[in-house]
Symmetry: C2
Subunit: 138 residues, 2 copies
DNA sequence: TTATAAATGCAAGTAAGTTGCATAAACTAT
DNA sequence: ATAGTTTATGCAACTTACTTGCATTTATAA
């Protein structure tokens, strides 16, 4: 994706265009897998930890990224669909975590199956995390 | 559940019977919702943080508890089914997190629907976390 | 180009998770 | 019941992730 495209994404989310934001977004688009703040710190030592932290938060708030639930205790983030907005997130895809390489992927084309909950419960969002072995490691 | 029943659960998992373990197990059985280490620290100030941490870990290792994935970054734990063993966990039920009261419940009678992954991927475990409003808060 | 608003870096703090070690308690086999 | 062995506990200390305040720098809009 061109630098101009990246800038327009930031603009469309009312975010100022800065080097850090462009680099982080570029990294997410290239990696395709979910990333943690630690991953960004390793990749971009020229930026302060706090700047990366706030970059992730601004991307979360504006709907560019979503947080992926996991049991490890380290927050990981993935790119949102274009259909997401700050108010409405649309993440009915499946997250796959490889138990071998540790990578977390968004399986965008796999839709979360319909789920039923007990009477009186209201569903606002559904997250599905599949653990196993990815195609690269199999 | 009687104190004797609690003790037999510990024994069947090759765990020594201690006050802390009995209290923690009793708390889980009563609460029914998922709990974090912090919840235990608040409830049992007479036990050290580390003791509670190790109690949770021994319960995890022996298959009494399972870890529930979530986006908050704080690990939460829920009781396993009786069909779980240290080697084999059987958690095809749904976890429900209420966005109002924050409680995480195991919906034991709701089975996770079948899911398909791309070719070459192997599934080892499936976790489903539903966010919404629980019956109490609706 | 200047004024304004926001992002950055640094320092510092909070909280969760973890390990080592001495002491205390639980279990096993007399 | 008791002595010996194994395991659990409490304390101190450490690592890592996350978070906030503030002064400075940078991006944007008038």
């Amino acid at each position: 994706m061109s630098q101009e495209n990246l800038k327009s994404i930031l603009k469309s989310h009312q975010l100022r265009i800065t080097d850090c934001r462009l680099d982080v977004m570029h990294f997410f688009l290239n990696e395709k897998s979910a990333l943690s703040q630690g991953d960004l710190e390793n990749q971009f030592q020229k930026y302060d930890r706090v700047t990366l932290y706030r970059t992730l938060n601004s991307f979360l708030d504006s709907g560019i990224l979503h947080k992926i639930p996991n049991a490890s205790g380290v927050a990981t983030y993935g790119l949102c669909h274009e259909t997401c907005s700050p108010d409405h997130h649309d993440h009915n895809h499946i997250h796959f975590k490889c138990n071998n390489c540790g990578q977390i992927e968004c399986l965008d084309d796999k839709v979360v199956p319909h789920v039923s909950v007990p009477k009186g419960y209201e569903i606002e969002a559904v997250n599905m995390i599949v653990d196993g072995i990815c195609a690269k490691c199999a």
